[in-house]
């Protein structure tokens, strides 16, 4: 075998499993051993349960033995971002306020994953309540970038990206509110996809910003990412915002759409004045690659790009201030040891002060402010209107092109602490990813090269519900390059 089991792709592993050349228990053990060997360095996991994983693997092996395999993910270890509810497992959102919370129910995507036979493996670190771009806002631990441990893995799904990159999981689930899947995928040299808003159920995803959040897959190959997306997609009656629309066969689509001469758009607002954009080099080479395939490359305009970050931070924080109100020390969260019991409100103040980290406090305060009396029209309503303009920009652009090509992040992973104390500069690094959440469109990040020894991703933004197309586009690039076989040395 050319690589250790833990670094093989799900597509290859499912073949090995089907042909009984390996068992899921062997594979799972390999991932467990790898995790134990490297996670002291990477720190991707908030928690994991070996026995539980091996028990799932045994069940998978038994199914295969009976000839009842549930498909290509049956027996494959999947890491789970610690923001998704898994029955009888901790759900911490990397927050002190949920440190002891055990979920009594399964998220819909987790139920689907269980039905596809996947081995649910561990709870992956993240920025607290998915608020951040570096996973430094975790109350649990600081995750390192497997390529350079003193650099951040990106965020908020930093644990999910780092684990896959380091071979501690074959694929993983993340969530993306403003780039939280794509940016860490880019920083850790893996593939990450944010589905169209409504493609994957949010039921059981601890909400950050309800109108922006999506659960999505991360993997080392486009194929693996497609297979994971397949298993979690589809309409869910428990989520009023999930969309009633057919789910195509993504893996098949990758093959079927191979060789298609796509028309790509380059948003001029993303490419002009980009001298400081360190990741531009590899991205431009990737664009050349598509040109060489005979694809057409056009300049397009997204005129309201400059307003995206401001719009995003109003919408996201306003929704978050309300979504996080339930963490109050009353029903299931951390309750402050001491509070003034005569003041019926103090239990909230103290529990939340102790339970939330700084970034969460900052955003809850900002969101509270923009919704407060007298400011609603100036901030929230204004942002909702600007959101319409941003959405229309994309509709307009997609009249002429099939997808947009952009960098995923302006620069590769930065050093830990580089942005601490300056939240705004951190927010501005989400510039390329945020608009997709505001417009509700799908986005894929595929590894496309290195800058200073750190991976860089190409972002492909697609039309609503055209995940199959951007996956096929990404696969085209991936197959012609060797990035998927390049792993960090740990």
């Amino acid at each position: 075998m050319s690589a250790e089991l833990y670094y093989k792709s799900a597509s290859e592993l499912s073949g090995l499993l089907d042909r009984k050349e390996i068992s899921s228990v062997e594979l799972t053990q390999s991932v467990i051993d790898r995790t134990k060997a490297v996670d002291d360095l990477v720190q991707a996991f908030n928690s994991f349960d070996e026995e539980n994983a091996l028990a799932q693997a045994e069940e998978s092996d038994a199914r295969r033995k009976r000839g009842e395999s549930l498909g290509s993910l049956d027996g494959i270890p999947v890491g789970i971002k610690d923001v998704l509810a898994v029955k009888d497992q901790p759900l911490t959102c990397s927050s002190k306020i949920l440190a002891d919370f055990v979920s009594p129910y399964d998220a819909t995507c987790i139920q689907k994953l269980k039905r596809s036979g996947a081995v649910l493996w561990g709870r992956l670190n993240m920025d607290e309540f998915a608020m951040g771009s570096s996973t430094e806002n975790s109350a649990t631990k600081i995750t390192g970038n497997p390529w350079k441990l003193d650099c951040i893995p990106g965020g908020s799904s930093g644990g999910s990206a780092a684990a896959v990159s380091a071979g501690e999981a074959i694929v993983s689930l993340g969530s993306d509110t403003g780039g939280s899947i794509r940016q860490p995928a880019s920083h850790c040299g893996i593939v990450g996809l944010k589905p169209t808003y409504g493609r994957v159920s949010r039921y059981g995803l601890a909400a950050f910003a309800s109108s922006l959040d999506q659960v999505g897959p991360m993997g080392r190959t486009v194929w693996d990412t497609a297979a994971l997306l397949q298993s979690i997609s589809g309409h869910d009656p428990n989520d009023s915002t999930s969309y009633r629309i057919d789910v195509p066969d993504y893996v098949q689509a990758i093959e079927q759409l191979k060789g298609r001469k796509w028309t790509f758009g380059l948003p001029k607002e993303y490419f002009e004045n980009a001298e400081d954009t360190a990741s531009m080099g590899p991205v431009k080479e990737a664009i050349e690659f598509y040109k060489s395939l005979g694809c057409e490359i056009k300049e397009v305009s997204l005129p309201h790009t400059a307003y995206a970050v401001a719009t995003y931070y109003i919408v996201a924080t306003a929704e978050a201030s309300s979504n996080l109100a339930r963490y109050d020390g009353i029903r299931y969260t951390h309750r402050a040891e001491s509070f003034d019991a005569k003041d019926s409100v103090d239990i909230y103040r103290q529990s939340r002060a102790e339970g939330f980290g700084n970034e969460v406090k900052r955003r809850v305060l900002l969101g509270t402010y923009v919704l407060s009396s007298g400011y609603y029209d100036a901030y929230y309503l204004k942002a909702q209107k600007t959101r319409t303009l941003i959405r229309r920009d994309f509709e307009e652009a997609f009249r002429d092109v099939d997808a947009l090509l952009t960098p995923t992040a302006p620069s590769p992973a930065f050093k830990r602490g580089a942005h601490s104390g300056d939240p705004l500069s951190m927010y501005l690094s989400d510039i390329y990813t945020i608009s997709a959440n505001l417009a509700g469109i799908p986005g894929l990040s595929v590894p496309c090269g290195y800058v200073d020894g750190l991976p860089v991703g190409l972002q492909i933004l697609g039309k609503p519900f055209k995940e199959d197309e951007i996956l096929a586009m990404g696969n085209e690039f991936e197959s012609a390059h060797n990035f998927k076989n390049e792993h960090p040395s740990l």
Binding site: P237, T311, R352, K361, L365, Y379, T386, L389
Partner: protein, 96 residues
Amino acid sequence: MAEAPHIDIDKVAELARIALTDEEKTKFSSQLESILGYIDKLNELDTTNVEPTAHPHSVENVWREDRATSELPTSEALKNAPKQRQNMFVVPKVVE
């Protein structure tokens, strides 16, 4: 844009039910004011007659039929409770 935005941090913290130390108040208000300063950029845009977007792909009339489904067992409902008694959640005495 007019004057730099000013946040009444005490009022906001009270609405958000988060106790802040004086140091935090100073730090957060200056950070939030700088973010709000940046956000004020939206005022450059004329959004008269622009419909607000509440959902990226809005549909209407999404509902369920009125049928009871399963509940959580009481033990599960209470298992994360910081304090419980008589199968209920204990909270400080609420004076109306």
